[in-house]
Symmetry: C2
Subunit: 219 residues, 2 copies
DNA sequence: GTCTATACGTTGATAGAC
DNA sequence: GTCTATCAACGTATAGAC
């Protein structure tokens, strides 16, 4: 369910040296920023190198090529991504669990908007780099997640809402605050979305979605 | 509130010839497809020309340069975009008007997903080409739209939900079905989203959002 | 109005000295 | 491991014949 990141010169067995770890981190961080702002094609190795404070040739020493670096960045993102969704279980109280999930997603949109944007651009562009990620395993995992909502429905804890569409509503509404932050700021006359803005947005989403699904507040 | 499209060789006064109209349309259509699939930087004039069935130099004859062509495409999209939102008025019954708006947006996501994707990528990339679009006028227009929801709240027709966040929920949840269609298909094992899929998604959104906002169904 | 040929910058990637 | 120099491919854009 995760991406195969092509190994380069770091041969198996040898532990990563301290300098290697430091440089790889710097490159990955710089790449994440640039890819989020300009997309895959719009980002040049030159820019990433400058942002990481290293000569361009070093990037090719640590990563096979541009695509390899991009896949590595994408892979890091996906790990964080899925883990939050696994916290939901059929035994949870829907009001508590859903509210917590929305808060977590909003927190993610606030603290790692670049990650959300890279994923969004990749999907919009056809998501060919995610083909192996969206494997049979992933669909099974997704079904399992949808089953949690179905269990809540069967237990009479919420309205009979198609779990699949509910999941897309949760993803779409929370990620919107990361991906479209620019529009939100321009339209509301802000320079950036503050922590408080995001918390208010989250409270709002929780109100509408929980009530909309017929979930009674936790006692 | 709209974009200034740089005029090129079509001097004012002269009506567009039939051949010019035909070619410009072909170029714009091809450009829309390519920009949606690969973003601004990821699209080459060469590809657009091939897709439009014209030699590359012709694009530069009809449009000043690549950016001019891109702005023209973007401009076409924005016109369609805003008009649907203007249909809402304070006198409307919220249940009817909101449901109709969600249907319209979903219809838009179904029929013109490329437009939605180009807009999304532009915003994610910082939206510098939309600076003049997001002018003072636009913010005034947006406030006016938010005021409609506030009027409904004041009239006791819906819960006191921040209109601004409600608008972002409407936009985010409906556009998600255009922008993330690839993910939705991969995850649910479809090859494409059918008309029926989109209608079910719309019905679902209407149920959750209307109930979530405390809007009673129209009698 | 149309299209071939080409100028010229930028890109990803590598060779090879250190 | 690091970095300068360089290459081939591709990008936008234009000149100029038709």
């Amino acid at each position: 369910m995760s991406l195969e990141v092509p190994a380069h010169s770091n041969h198996a067995g040898k532990p990563a040296s301290r300098i290697r770890q430091k440089n790889e981190q710097a490159i990955l961080r710089a790449a994440e920023d640039e890819f989020a702002r300009h997309g895959y094609k719009g980002t040049s190795m030159n820019t990433i190198a400058a942002s990481a404070g290293l000569p361009k040739a070093n990037l090719h020493y640590y990563f096979t090529n541009k695509l390899g670096l991009y896949i590595a960045v994408l892979s890091n993102i996906l790990e964080l991504w899925d883990s939050t969704f696994n916290a939901l279980t059929a035994e949870d109280d829907p009001a508590v669990a859903l509210a917590r999930y929305i808060r977590t997603k909003m927190e993610f949109s606030r603290r790692q908007p670049q990650a959300s944007r890279i994923f969004a651009m990749e999907i919009i562009s056809g998501g060919e780099c995610l083909t192996e990620y969206f494997s049979q395993d992933y669909r099974a995992w997704f079904s399992g997640r949808a089953a949690v909502f179905q269990a809540w429905i069967d237990a009479g804890k919420m309205d009979p809402i198609d779990p699949v569409h509910l999941i897309f509503l949760l993803w779409g509404s929370t990620q919107h605050y990361a991906d479209f932050a620019t529009q939100i700021c321009r339209v509301t006359g802000r320079t950036r979305l503050t922590r408080q803005d995001m918390e208010e947005a989250g409270t709002n989403l929780i109100h509408i979605i929980l009530k909309g699904c017929g979930i009674k507040p936790a006692q």
